[in-house]
């Protein structure tokens, strides 16, 4: 049996979605604007898109680029961030570099990258890679810096080499922080994915969306927004599940009571 509290927590996102769609429906009916279809119309357009082979290929292309960009970014950024957190030399070298890259919107780099690498997969994947890297590096860096010195000393006394300490102590100890960075990175991957396809139109979910906009197919536009949004929500939910399982050992044991009375 689920307790009422658990039931409420499970049902809350569903209720939020229904509420949002209801508000949309009412607003659309009230405004009676051609470019603002009702929620029902938009939802009805979803099966058409997903049933269409070309659209589906486009969406899968997007997801593939996103997966590669995210995966490579995580594989590169975690070791780099951890090294930066534990070595002043490495940090001194990369910090200035990252400080320059950090505030630049990665999509703004796209024209240059397109010029060099074309409008294909490589360019778009690279932009996703850049978007994901920074939060993951930053959180890995902060996580590694915060690792208690005495924990590393304990490991050293057991005979762990510096490399072993990095992999077997710093990495697990910083994991909660690293995964927070990865979660931010995942959402950024989705954002940069759509943005990149908006700039270099050729394939992908962003391409369908903006083509439909050009052709005035507003129910398709809104259906795509729902699809992309749902993708984001699902990916985040799956990731959060994995994250929670991996760092169960670090979660607080007690909820903060809202009142002690």
């Amino acid at each position: 049996m689920m307790s009422p509290a658990v039931l409420t927590r499970r049902a809350a996102p569903v209720l939020a979605c229904i509420g949002l769609l209801a508000v949309w429906q009412i607003a659309s009916l009230a405004l009676k604007n051609d470019s603002f279809p009702t929620a029902v119309e938009a939802v009805r357009a979803i099966p058409d898109i997903l049933g269409d082979k070309e659209s589906l290929t486009n969406i899968l292309d997007s997801l593939r680029r996103m997966a590669i960009g995210f995966g490579v970014a995580v594989l590169v950024s975690i070791p780099l961030g951890l090294l930066m957190g534990r070595s002043r030399t490495v940090a001194a070298f990369f910090n200035p570099l990252l400080m320059v890259i950090y505030p630049v919107p990665k999509a703004a780099l796209m024209p240059i990258i397109m010029l060099w690498l074309g409008v294909g997969d490589v360019t778009k994947t690279l932009v996703i890679f850049l978007g994901v890297s920074l939060p993951v590096i930053y959180h890995s860096f902060e996580g590694a810096k915060a690792v208690e010195e005495k924990m590393l000393w304990s490991g050293a006394a057991m005979g762990l080499s510096p490399a072993q300490r990095l992999v077997r102590i710093v990495l697990p100890a910083a994991l909660p922080e690293i995964l927070t960075g990865c979660r931010t990175g995942l959402v950024l991957a989705l954002i940069t994915m759509i943005t990149s396809e908006m700039i270099a139109r050729q394939s992908g979910a962003g391409n369908i969306l903006f083509n439909a906009l050009d052709m005035g197919q507003y129910d398709t536009v809104f259906a795509m927004i729902i699809i992309v949004g749902a993708m984001g929500i699902c990916l985040d939910a799956i990731f959060e599940r994995i994250r929670a399982r991996l760092v169960r050992w670090s979660e607080p044991q007690f909820d903060m009571p809202l009142s002690f009375s």
């Binding site: 208690e148 924990m151 000393w153 304990s154 006394a157 057991m158 697990p172 760092v247 670090s250």
Partner: protein
């Protein structure tokens, strides 16, 4: 100074000094010309006020900190870094929070290539010895401070260091838990008589546990006096507290700290 030439010195500290650069860019002499010999199997306490360099001295023996000058030796070999022959137990516990109690205790032996089954069997026995049977699968965050320190002790004992380096291990615990852990530590120690270097700022604790108390003073950190504690073992707390010899040691040491300078009195 009572210093007999030891037949079997395990640790020799030879004119060690440690200078720290403070943030005001001034040199701070944390340890000044420390020489000390620790015999194999002895329980030696380093006693002194906060800030006199007790931890620093222990870190130097552990190989975690290199002294500015002088040298520390273990069994005649210069200490150049940490090693499994010297096992630290820190006031901050420093457990691996992503590992269970058993995982923490098995960590050292596994690192040293002991087979999993064997490491687990020994780990379980150690956990029982430190009084935590039933908590094998708990994570550190699910334990009280006293329990964490028991795990930390078991984790270090698990890889059989020749010397235990304990830095105010019971300093963060309440009085009751501290007393219980002192008793348990003594019981464990009286069984296998490992060499212990034990840092504390508590006179009672030092006298109760030790064969030898090294009194330090502050600014700069120096050894004031080394006192042999000639009390019978096994020591029982309830007997010892009533023993006039024990009381005399405590009173004398406290008086010596009081006489030196008002800043130097340990609590």
């Amino acid at each position: 100074m009572t210093s007999q030439e030891p037949a079997s010195a395990i640790i020799e500290i030879d004119r060690v000094s440690q200078v720290f650069q403070t943030s005001a860019r001034k040199d701070h002499l944390a340890l000044s010309d420390i020489s000390l010999t620790i015999e194999e199997g002895a329980f030696v306490s380093i006693l002194g006020p906060s800030g006199c360099g007790k931890s620093t001295l222990l870190y130097i023996v552990g190989g975690f900190v290199n002294p500015t000058s002088g040298a520390a030796k273990m069994k005649g070999r210069a200490i150049t870094g940490p090693g499994p022959d010297r096992g630290p137990v820190f006031q901050e516990f420093a457990l691996f929070p992503w590992k269970t109690v058993l995982g923490n205790v098995m960590y050292g032996p596994r690192q040293q290539g002991v087979r999993t089954a064997e490491a687990e069997a020994q780990g379980r026995a150690l956990i029982e010895m430190v009084g935590l049977k039933g908590f094998e699968n708990f994570y550190p965050k699910e334990l009280s401070g006293g329990m964490k320190q028991r795990v930390a002790l078991a984790r270090t004992l698990a890889y059989h260091p020749e010397v235990l380096l304990m830095d105010e291990p019971f300093g963060a615990l309440d009085a009751h838990t501290r007393t219980r852990l002192q008793n348990d530590l003594l019981n464990i120690w009286e069984r296998d008589r490992k060499t212990v270097l034990f840092v504390t700022h508590s006179v009672d604790e030092a006298v109760f546990l030790s064969d030898k108390v090294v009194m330090m003073s502050k600014s700069p950190g120096r050894i004031r006096q080394v006192i042999d504690i000639d009390l019978p073992r096994p020591r029982r707390r309830n007997e010892l507290l009533l023993d006039p010899r024990y009381q005399k040691y405590v009173v004398n040491i406290e008086r010596m700290f009081d006489e030196s300078d008002e800043a130097g009195a340990p609590t």
